[in-house]
């Protein structure tokens, strides 16, 4: 067993070395710990005993929920999509470390890219009215007296577009997004 863990340690160290070259915001030790954490999480997941290439959507979402306190389904899916760069529905070890690197330590630029990707639900490089509506759907508390709660959301979407859509094409391009976030940092992880 000790042999096993010793070997493991060695493997992890080499892994860490390679990965930390890509994840620029973590040092080697941090990467090592993240890999360990990844393995633990992966271990919890493999109930069936079958080896899997990484964390699946459910596990990843529960991590986001438990550790980072995210609640919005839509956003969590988006985050998963962003982490899962190769679109194989699993977050691999490499993806895990690199994703976290941006998520936790990224520069403004990286985070802008990252967030835009999260919001761009269909991956067409635009955040459309509909996508925005979906994301803001639950953001207003429904008031019984309100005629149509969706009206408020629509209005909110319009307000957002008015603020951020610089080229006035009715949707947010990455340039729009970047420009408005640079102007007002607060807009980063809302929309």
């Amino acid at each position: 067993m000790s042999e096993m863990s010793a070997m493991n340690r060695k493997v992890i160290q080499t892994l860490a070395e390679t990965i930390s070259k890509h994840a620029e915001h973590f040092n080697k030790t941090e990467v090592e710990f993240l890999i360990r954490e990844f393995n633990v999480l992966l271990g919890e997941q493999t109930v069936s005993g079958r080896a899997v290439p990484g964390l699946d959507r459910g596990t990843f979402r529960s991590i986001l929920h438990n550790i980072f306190g995210m609640t919005d389904d839509m956003i969590m899916d988006g985050v998963f999509r962003t982490f899962d760069k190769d679109n194989d529905s699993f977050v691999s070890m490499k993806e895990w470390v690199e994703g976290l690197s941006v998520f936790l330590r990224g520069t403004l630029e990286e985070q802008i890219k990252y967030c835009f990707h999260v919001y761009d639900l269909n991956g067409d490089n635009y955040v459309s009215r509909e996508e925005m509506f979906h994301m803001l759907k639950n953001s207003l508390i429904r008031q019984p007296t309100e005629e149509d709660p969706d009206e408020g959301i629509k209005d909110l979407v319009e307000i957002t577009l008015k603020k951020m859509d610089y080229d006035h094409d009715g949707r947010l391009s990455f340039t729009d997004f970047e420009k408005s976030v640079r102007e007002e940092n607060l807009l980063l992880d809302i929309d």
Binding site: D72, M135, L136, N138, S139, L140, I141, Q143, T145, E147, G152, D155, L156, I159, T160, K162, K163, E184, L186, L187, I190, D191
Partner: protein
């Protein structure tokens, strides 16, 4: 009906919240009118009655489920109407005790159902729905319609609201119905009020006309002028705006009597009285009654103007009936109603006809005008600009008021404080206006601790809220919508909304007030107490902008928002800290806010923010943020430092060294608040010492050469305050600060900067070495040039500096050559006491030069200085008296000059009754000079100068003693004055003066004693008091004068003793 409800209906005092309608006859009739309108609406206008209200009218009813019949779906106690809107929601819903109704048809039915309780129901409905029109039509439509001119026809109204929804036509019709009702109600109110009439418009008009004719024309006029404030006459003969007519007021007059000030008079049905000054319509404050109510104009004028009362009876009033009949004419209720109202009620009837024929009119695009538009315009729809103006007015009047309080406080006898304020008020801006807060006793104490002299010090004046929500800009509604989302959104929506709100021009008053008025301020402040950093940042970003508005600041403090902001200063997030500090710097512009900051430990926290390293060559991003935080902290401290207690708190929190470190920063935006704080605090002795010992003078001097005017100004002003101390003055010279100060004089266009720079030069020039240095830069020539056409705060300092410069003989000639004497003498006619003190000083200093004196004499300067002895300020009196001394000394034919000033000698003798030692000393010195002329001395003696001088001899003030003894010495030269001094008991105290440690006192006392010793009785007294021993001691002095006087005195005593002995021996 909104207008008549807000204006005419008599609400119980709590009218802002859910007030109750008082049960007055007028309200009852109003209710009946509204009730019948509601009752008949369903049947008369079936189409419009179906319109679904924008918001339901809700109130707590006394109706039970059992009261409802068919057409209603009754389950248990709840009732729903079968009639539903397009979305299937019932138009009437009752869940006891609340009922909500959403259409007029349901309203009518409900009123029918209520039977005998219907009046109560309507009343409850109105009480709980203060703005029914808004609820019925929706706020946007209501505002559009009410904002429209009444001249506009139905079609264009429909046009206006077309884009607000498909059923706009119905809305317009509904609105017109409601407005019609409103008119009806208002005119009914007027009728009702008119019923109580005593005076009526015709009577007033007659009286005014007769007064105009017989009083103003002709030789023996009794009045200068009499005018109406408004030329517009309403149909009922009144000139007052409708909402004042409701109070029974008919017109306003401005009357200029011959002998008193202008009177602003209100003529109301109840009588004639003075008002607060109605000049133009729309100024609510002016309408207040400020005098008793008089029966008619004539009686009022008689009581106010003696001239009028005297002449009115002698005048031949051909045109006018005798007062008795006039009285009868005035008190004529029935007549008044008939005469005052017929036209308007006719108009009313006509309009009703037109209303009924609306359909046809509507089709033809009728050109019917519904009302004379002034009425609508005047009914509370003040334009934003007009209101702003009014606010300004009310603000300035508030300031006047508090200035009054200030004066009273001064009068209450804080002389020391007054002295301090003299130097303070020479700073830019007016003396601080403070206000005694009555709510808590301890607060008034606090008020005394204020020291600020900043012009931005502001008042807490009551503010008039906008009374109707009409005529509001579109921003208002957009902001209202945003606030709604702010209230109901999760954090994502909140941040989005906050960002959207930031896009408004938050520096604009309309937006600022809109945020407050729609309840946004509460939400923003609530957000500060959440854990969401982003929300807090967003909220603060908005608050820091809108807190530039005075009213918003007050509202923030009132809502307890300042506590939350202070709490945020502890946050680990730097952005938050910086924003919070910046917001505090805006909010803490008034005293109560500053106190709050202190009481919640804000000063300590702000001082903590200052801890950073500002002067590193390269900063990491993190350090840069620290510097930004420190900058905001300094800004906040700057605002806070206007309270004395806060200055103390900053000192206790060890803020001074931190400020000293920040002072080394190379950045202007950091330096300005830091130096601003320092110069504000430099009013305290402890700070002045600290600024000097912490080596800040060097940095202050360095920044004098900055190219930022504001920074230069604060630096100069800090030096101004600190240079009271000699060491500081020397340091300024050592650090080569005098040259930049002198070069600042060229920036004559920036008056604040000029005031600070001249102030610093003034104080620095108290040291002679500095004056010499200044001369290298030709500062005096420039200063003399600044003696004309400058604001007072500059003049005070310039003149102060000139006075200091003039102590060097060479400079006196320079002043003369530059034409400074004339400018100085011209300034003697001013009223600013601080300025007068300095001017007299300077004139006195110049007068020591013979050539200068000739010019002063020629310009009649002595008379001007002399007349300043009448100034109520003791400081002016004394400095004027000091200035007189060299004038009298150096004037050609001084005696004649003094005599030519009628009453001057009496004036100066009377000032010996003053209780101020400095005044007494200066007057004594002047008397000593005057008494050199025998004739004048005779006059002085006649005015009783001897006993008055003798009375002061018991003083212990060495300065006074010296001049008093000098005066006594000189006054001995006339008639029996020597003996009189002895009789008045002046000799014994003088002997005691010889024990004083002051050499000057010895000299003048010895002279006086020598003169007095020429009277034998005085010699006896002196000898008894043991004068010989100290005199013999004085004979050993180096001063020849002193030697001579002492010896002469001893000789006189000795001679007397000799004579006495001889007499004994030889008789």
């Amino acid at each position: 009906m909104g207008l008549s409800l807000t204006r005419a209906a008599q609400w119980t005092p709590a009218s802002s919240g859910t007030g109750k309608l008082e049960s007055t006859p007028m309200n009852e009739s109003l209710l009946k009118e509204i009730l019948s309108f509601a009752e008949q609406f369903g049947s008369q206008h079936p189409q419009e009655a179906l319109h679904v209200f924008q918001e339901p009218l809700q109130w707590s009813t006394t109706l039970m489920a059992s009261d409802f019949k068919t057409d209603y779906d009754i389950s248990d106690s709840d009732v729903q109407s079968n009639e539903r809107d397009s979305e299937g929601l019932p138009l009437l819903q009752l869940s006891p005790p609340t009922v909500s109704v959403r259409s007029f048809s349901q309203l009518s039915k409900l009123v029918h159902l209520a039977e005998d309780k219907k009046v109560e129901e309507v009343q409850a409905c109105l009480e709980e729905n203060r703005y029914p029109v808004v609820k019925i039509l929706g706020s946007i439509v209501a505002s559009i319609l009410q904002g429209e001119d009444t001249d506009t026809d139905v079609l264009s109204l429909v046009d206006k609201v077309k884009d607000q929804g498909k059923d706009s036509e119905v809305k317009v019709k509904l609105f017109l119905f409601l407005r019609n009702l409103d008119n009806k109600l208002l005119s009914k109110c007027l009728e009702e009020i008119a019923g109580k009439i005593r005076l009526d418009p015709t009577a007033v008009k007659n009286e005014v006309d007769s007064l105009k004719q017989s009083s103003i024309e002709g030789e023996k006029r009794v009045l200068k002028s009499i005018q109406y404030t408004s030329d517009y006459i309403f149909s009922n003969g009144c000139r007052a705006p409708p909402w004042r007519q409701v109070h029974g007021e008919m017109c306003y007059l401005v009357i200029e009597p011959c002998d008193t000030e202008t009177l602003c008079v209100t003529c109301s049905t109840a009588g004639v009285f003075l008002n607060g000054g109605v000049k133009q319509e729309g100024e609510e404050s002016g309408y207040e009654r400020t005098s008793d109510v008089h029966r008619d104009l004539r009686t009022l004028l008689k009581s106010r103007s003696p001239h009028f009362a005297e002449n009115i009876n002698t005048q031949d009033f051909a045109v006018q009936e005798p007062p008795s009949t006039q009285k009868v004419q005035h008190v004529e209720p029935v007549d008044a109603e008939e005469r005052g109202q017929p036209q308007s009620s006719y108009e009313q009837r006509e309009k009703n006809v037109n209303e009924n024929a609306r359909q046809s009119l509507y089709k033809t695009g009728g050109e019917k005008k519904y009302e004379p538009c002034p009425r609508w315009r005047n009914l509370g729809l003040t334009s934003p600009c007009g209101e702003a103006e009014e606010k300004k007015r009310s603000k300035s009047s508030g300031e006047e008021k508090s200035d009054g309080i200030q004066k009273r406080k001064r009068g209450a006898g804080a002389k020391g404080k007054m002295k301090a304020e003299f130097s303070a008020s020479s700073l830019p801006g007016r003396p601080s206006s403070q206000k005694i807060k009555t709510s808590a006793g301890s607060m008034s104490l606090d008020a005394f601790s204020e020291s600020s002299s900043e012009s931005e010090e502001e008042e807490e004046q009551p503010e008039r809220r906008q009374e109707s929500n009409t005529d509001l800009p579109s921003e208002y509604w957009q902001i209202q919508k945003l606030v709604k989302y702010l209230k109901g959104g999760d954090q994502t929506a909140t941040v989005l909304t906050l960002c959207a709100m930031m896009d408004f021009n938050l520096m604009q008053e309309t937006c600022q007030l809109a945020i407050r008025d729609v309840g946004g301020l509460e939400v923003l402040i609530n957000l500060l107490d959440t854990d969401e950093v982003k929300c807090k940042i967003g909220s603060l970003k908005i608050l820091r902008k809108i807190s530039h508005n005075v009213q918003i600041r007050r509202a923030i403090v009132d809502m307890g928002g300042l506590q939350s902001i202070v709490r945020i200063l502890d946050s680990p997030v730097k952005d938050l800290k910086a924003l919070a500090a910046e917001t505090i710097s805006n909010v803490a512009r008034f005293r109560r806010a500053r106190r709050t900051v202190r009481q919640y430990g804000g000063i300590k926290k702000l001082v903590k923010l200052l801890d950073c390293v500002p002067n590193l060559a390269s900063l990491s991003a993190n350090q840069e943020k620290d510097v930004e935080v420190a900058r905001c902290g300094a800004l906040a401290l700057w605002s806070c430092s206007k309270s004395t207690k806060n200055k103390e708190a900053i000192r206790k929190a060890v803020g001074i060294p931190l400020l000293g470190r920040l002072l080394q920063s190379p950045h202007e935006n950091m330096l300005i608040p830091v130096v601003g704080t320092l110069q504000e605090c430099a009013s305290e002795e402890s700070y002045r010492i600290a600024i000097q010992t912490e080596g800040m003078i060097k940095d202050l001097v360095k920044n004098l050469s900055s190219d930022n005017d504001e920074l230069q100004m604060h630096c100069a002003s800090a030096i101004f305050k600190c240079a009271e101390g000699k060491q500081t003055r020397d340091l300024v010279r050592e650090y080569k600060g005098l040259q930049p100060l002198a070069s600042l004089l060229s920036k004559a266009s920036n008056k604040q900067l000029l005031a600070a720079a001249t102030g610093a030069i003034w104080k620095c020039s108290i040291s002679m070495e500095n004056v010499a240095k200044f001369q290298e830069y030709k500062a005096l020539e420039t200063l003399v040039g600044l003696l004309t056409n400058q604001p007072e705060e500059v003049l005070v300092n310039v003149v102060g500096a000139v006075g200091e410069f003039a102590r060097i003989p060479a400079n006196k000639a320079i002043i003369r050559k530059c034409g400074g004497i004339k400018s100085l003498v011209n300034l003697l006619t001013g009223t600013n006491q601080a300025l007068l003190v300095n001017v007299t000083n300077a004139v006195g200093a110049c007068a020591t030069d013979m050539d200068n004196m000739a010019i002063i004499d020629q310009l009649d300067g002595v008379r001007l200085v002399w007349s300043l002895l009448k100034n109520p300020s003791a400081e002016v009196q004394s400095s004027a008296a000091w200035a007189l001394c060299p004038c009298i000394n150096n004037a050609k034919d001084a005696g004649e000059m003094v005599r030519s000033l009628v009453g001057g000698l009496e004036l100066i003798v009377n000032l010996l009754k003053s209780t101020n030692n400095e005044v007494l000393a200066s007057i004594c010195a002047a008397i000593a000079k005057i008494a050199k002329d025998k004739e004048n001395l005779a006059v002085l003696t006649d005015h009783g100068v001897v006993p008055l001088l003798a009375k002061q001899t018991n003083t212990t003030d060495d300065r006074l003693r010296r001049h008093l003894a000098e005066a006594i010495g000189h006054c001995c030269m006339w008639g029996s004055n020597k003996a009189s001094f002895g009789d008045a008991g002046a000799v014994a105290p003088l002997v005691r003066y010889l024990k004083s440690k002051d050499k000057e006192v010895h000299q003048s006392t010895a002279m006086a004693l020598y003169q007095l010793s020429k009277d034998p009785n005085n010699c006896i007294t002196m000898h008894e008091k043991g004068v010989v021993k100290p005199l013999i001691h004085l004979m050993g002095s180096d001063e020849e004068m002193l030697q001579e006087a002492a010896a002469g005195c001893v000789r006189n005593i000795r001679l007397l003793a000799q004579a006495n002995r001889n007499a004994v021996l030889f008789n």
